[in-house]
């Protein structure tokens, strides 16, 4: 391979359209060189590579050895960036030296230059060192400019970053610590963090949790070193920011294959008690139909019906699958059922089955499959921590040695220690502080009703990162076991509030009311009423009569008439007389007993109702003071003609009331009262005052 062949091969390996928008590290080590050269021997491959780079250098000890490549690179830029970057093989040699240094675990200028001059086959000299300082950083900057400016990230985004301490060798270091495999593992970090594809995030917060996560991760030593070194912070921030923005929710395994889970699924379509199957997820960018092979090499065809699933072909549950798990591999694809002593299955709307979940949420309902030898421990746990109502269950093909429970809903995370086999039944909170619950209003993002502030959840195990939280400046300590703080218990006033929990900042606001009698979409859901048959009168659904609470809407001529209000009388009088405008329209009443249900509530009625078949004009009440008190109900002149149904006695009684002198009535009604008295006097029924 010539020097130019190396440059092309390196470009094709690292900077390709498949990496568009993704951060790319130009990580080159001995393995990479061997892979690209195709040589069986690493030493031979590196020797050939070094020879080709060496051939492009100026060998005079008092000159800049990189001048020739720098000139070619400058011409390449002036010429419109045609072809591959001429510097790539030389920069690869820089990274190769840096990866060799990184393996020693000790970063220093000297530890870098010794392998570097060795790789390019030139002894160190003062002029050569000056040449490195003059040319190499510029070449790195040019490569970054080509990737991000000229190519606009279409072949991958640059992660080439200067280092505040290692100002000259930092560029090479920035590419030598973080491998492609490290980048792929970041997708698992995103899952751990609880990031959702496409959701907003704060890169600084992400970095803080990344540093926490790296401690127990299987990232390379270089990547861990990078996480610890504040000098790499700008590079890591860019890397996390770019990668998180472009993440589709999937993960990649050690061999670079897109990986996805195989779930246990419970299907009720054919058996009343359900049938267990295995159901594979379909990762993004995977064909709708794939062929995979199991551990024995047998082919299995999987087809997709619903997005995200290979659900058209369910995988038969074989003996031992639940105990030992299952691995299926295909072209760039790895599907796994991770074995577990307990599986929790929840209704999954995206596919229409009950599918096994990686963790339990409190208060959600599950089917639980567990090894039979866990029966006593499982039932004891459910008795103590689950809501009432869970029961034994037996799917039709439940494997021997397994048992099932249904309607399992864990009420809250247990405080006591739980047998490790049942760990999946501990509701797992997010890995970072979050707000949960509350009474969110549609008025805006993170707006809650006053008194309905959410809870602040801080998961256990991050007390080192978050020893305390502050709520509007009020400090609350975080115990080792985590924190579930009811913010409404703090008596916060309406307005904007801020929770600071380590690197996480959570803002929300509260309002006491929308300041309106009704909300905008009040009454927007209505229910149709009526039927197609004439019962009790034609009220067909097609007539458009609808109801919302106590309000009817529709064609007023079709709505039932408003119920005629009965006559209302205050309680506490001895006698009551109700008089109409025509002689004979009179009834006398006594106060009824109050309804018994009111006494049970208790409500104390101050009035009672009665119905009359005529319009009541005057209401007379005889009080305990021994007086008649008259109240006008409707201002209506008297009609001297007795009502058709009036009896002689009735007419006499009616007239006698108006001839009574001791009735108390408001002065304003005296004139009308007198007109009634006049009618009473004129009646020829032999009444007298």
């Amino acid at each position: 391979m010539t020097y130019n062949d190396w440059s092309s091969a390196l470009r094709e390996r690292y900077f390709v359209p498949e990496n568009a928008g993704l951060p790319v590290t130009f990580f080159v080590d001995d393995d990479t060189i061997a892979e690209i050269s195709g040589e069986a021997s690493h030493e031979e491959a590196v020797r050939n590579f070094s020879k080709r780079v060496h051939g492009q250098l100026i060998h005079a000890a008092d000159e800049n050895p990189f001048q020739l490549i720098e000139t070619r690179a400058a011409d390449w830029e002036r010429g419109g960036w045609q072809g591959d970057p001429p510097s790539l093989a030389l920069l690869a040699a820089c990274v190769l030296a840096a990866t060799r240094m990184a393996r020693t675990g000790r970063i220093s200028t000297n530890n870098y230059y010794v392998p570097f001059w060795g790789v390019i086959g030139l002894p160190r000299s003062a002029a050569r060192m000056r040449g490195y300082s003059d040319s190499i950083p510029w070449l790195w900057q040019q490569l970054a400019k080509w990737l991000d400016g000229v190519q606009q990230g279409g072949l991958g985004k640059s992660t080439i970053t200067p280092h505040p301490t290692w100002t000259v060798i930092g560029y090479s270091l920035s590419q030598a610590l973080f491998r492609r495999s490290d980048r792929d593992k970041l997708f698992r970090f995103f899952q751990w963090f609880g990031l959702k594809p496409g959701s907003a995030f704060d890169a600084r917060e992400l970095l803080a949790y990344y540093r926490l996560w790296t401690v127990n991760s299987n990232l390379s030593a270089g990547a861990k070193r990078m996480a610890e070194d504040p000098g790499f912070e700008p590079q890591l921030l860019n890397l996390l920011d770019d990668l998180a923005k472009s993440w589709d929710g999937g993960t990649i395994d050690e061999l670079g294959r897109r990986e996805a889970q195989i779930h246990v699924a419970l299907d009720f379509s054919e058996q009343a008690l359900g049938t267990l199957w295995l159901l594979a997820e379909r990762p993004g960018r995977t064909p709708e139909e794939v062929e995979v092979r199991d551990g024995g090499g047998d082919p299995i065809r999987l087809r997709s019906q619903h997005a995200g699933w290979f659900d058209q072909d369910l995988i038969t549950l074989k003996t031992g699958s639940l105990d030992r798990g299952l691995a299926l591999t295909g072209e760039g694809l790895s599907l796994k059922l991770t074995p577990s002593p307990v599986y929790v299955l929840a209704e999954d709307d995206s596919v229409g089955f009950y599918t096994s979940q990686s963790k339990t949420e409190s208060r959600r309902e599950y089917f639980v499959l567990a090894k039979a030898d866990l029966e006593n421990r499982l039932d004891a746990y459910l008795t103590r921590h689950a809501a009432a109502g869970w029961q034994a269950h037996r799917p039709s093909n439940l494997p021997t040695g397994w048992l099932a429970r249904r309607r399992v809903s864990i009420a809250a995370p247990p405080m006591q220690e739980v047998p490790p086999e049942l760990a999946i039944l501990i509701p797992a909170p997010q890995q970072r502080p979050s707000l949960w619950g509350g009474l969110p209003l549609p008025s805006g993002r993170s707006v809650y009703l006053l008194g309905g502030e959410p809870e602040l959840l801080v998961p256990p195990g991050i007390v080192d990162l978050i020893p305390e939280v502050t709520v509007d400046g009020q400090v609350v300590a975080v115990p080792q076991s985590g924190l579930d703080l009811e913010l409404r218990s703090l008596g916060l006033s309406a307005g904007l509030h801020e929770v600071i929990a380590g690197p996480t900042s959570l803002r929300f606001s509260t309002i006491a009311s929308i300041e309106r009698v009704v909300a905008e979409c009040c009454g927007s859901v209505t229910a149709p009423v009526g039927s197609g048959r004439p019962y009790p009168r034609p009220i067909g659904p097609d007539l458009g009569i609808r109801v919302s609470g106590a309000v009817l809407s529709g064609d007023p001529s079709l709505l039932p008439p408003t119920v005629h209000p009965p006559f209302i009388l205050p309680r506490g009088r001895q006698r009551y007389l109700l008089l109409g405008s025509r002689p004979g329209q009179i009834i006398e009443l006594a106060e009824p007993k109050p309804p018994s249900w009111l006494r049970r509530i208790p409500l104390f009625p101050v009035a009672f109702e009665t119905q009359t078949d005529y319009a009541v004009i005057w209401m007379l009440m005889y009080s305990h003071r021994g007086k008649w008190e008259a109240r006008l109900r409707v201002e209506t002149p008297p009609n001297p003609v007795p009502s058709e149904s009036a009896t002689k006695d009735g007419v006499q009684t009616w007239a006698r009331v108006f001839l009574e002198d001791s009735v108390e009535l408001p002065r304003a009604h005296q004139e009308l009262w007198d007109s009634y008295r006049q009618v009473a006097q004129n009646l020829e029924v032999g009444v007298s005052g």
């Binding site: 309905g452 009311s513 009220i539 408003t562 119920v563 309804p595 009111l598 009035a607």
Partner: protein, 305 residues
Amino acid sequence: MSYNLLLEWLSESGCGTWSDFARVHEWLFPSVPGRTPVNPYHTASMLASLGHVEVDWHEGRWSIAPPVLTILPGAGEHAVLVGSRTRTLTARLEKATAEDATDDLLLRVYPQATAPDAVFVACTSESDVFDLAASLGIAFEYSVAGRLCALLTPVSESLVPVASPPESALERQQWDPRTLRWNPAVGEWQVGLYRYRTAGLRKYRYFTDRSTCFVVEFPVGAYMELQRISSNLVSYASEEVNGVLSAPARVPLPALQARVAALCSGVAPAFDQKIGVVKYLNVPTDMAISIAVSLGQDLAVNRPA
């Protein structure tokens, strides 16, 4: 307290999806180990029966109902506040009925264990309540229950047919009208009431034969089944004024029937655990009969001794 907060939240929000409702319900009524959790479906049905919310179970949406002051039938002149109850409305109502504002109206709040407070206004004249409603900017109606009752039709007439039965791999169950319980169902669809889940909501289908399928809500399908086997479970006990309508707790009244019955008193039906029934108070005899007829139930009426 939680039910009041829930009603305030519903009122201030105005409308939303079922998942919004379920999420807030889960926060307000957390599960307790060993205890039966408060069921969000029951809560929503209770609020709907009291006229506070309207729920579209098929679309998975709800909205708060417009606020109405309505006088209860034969209840010694008490009006009850139905529907939306924003904090602004509550504050205005309290102010308008305060001692220094009126001698004719009296606000009485009745706390309920499993429902929001019932808010009553005692009066001596419906015109005072009418004026109060007008001043608050809300509707007034004398006995909404009576007017809604006039709209009751046989539940069998309200069915909406669907072309084909549901396809689902989720659990399917058939309701047994003799035991009032759900049993696992499989195979061909038979005459009867089925339920299954989809998108987090329970869906119900009623089959009048193997191929004719109707979209129903559970109470409608259940009373269809009870009618099919001539099982009469609704009863009525007369009192001095009106009476008590009882329905089995396992077979709640359909939404409109429940609302008619509940708005006769303005309080949530009482659950009698001993005999497993819910009791609606102050239901006039004619309304009880209309409800029973609409459910295909022969009403057993017990007269006071």
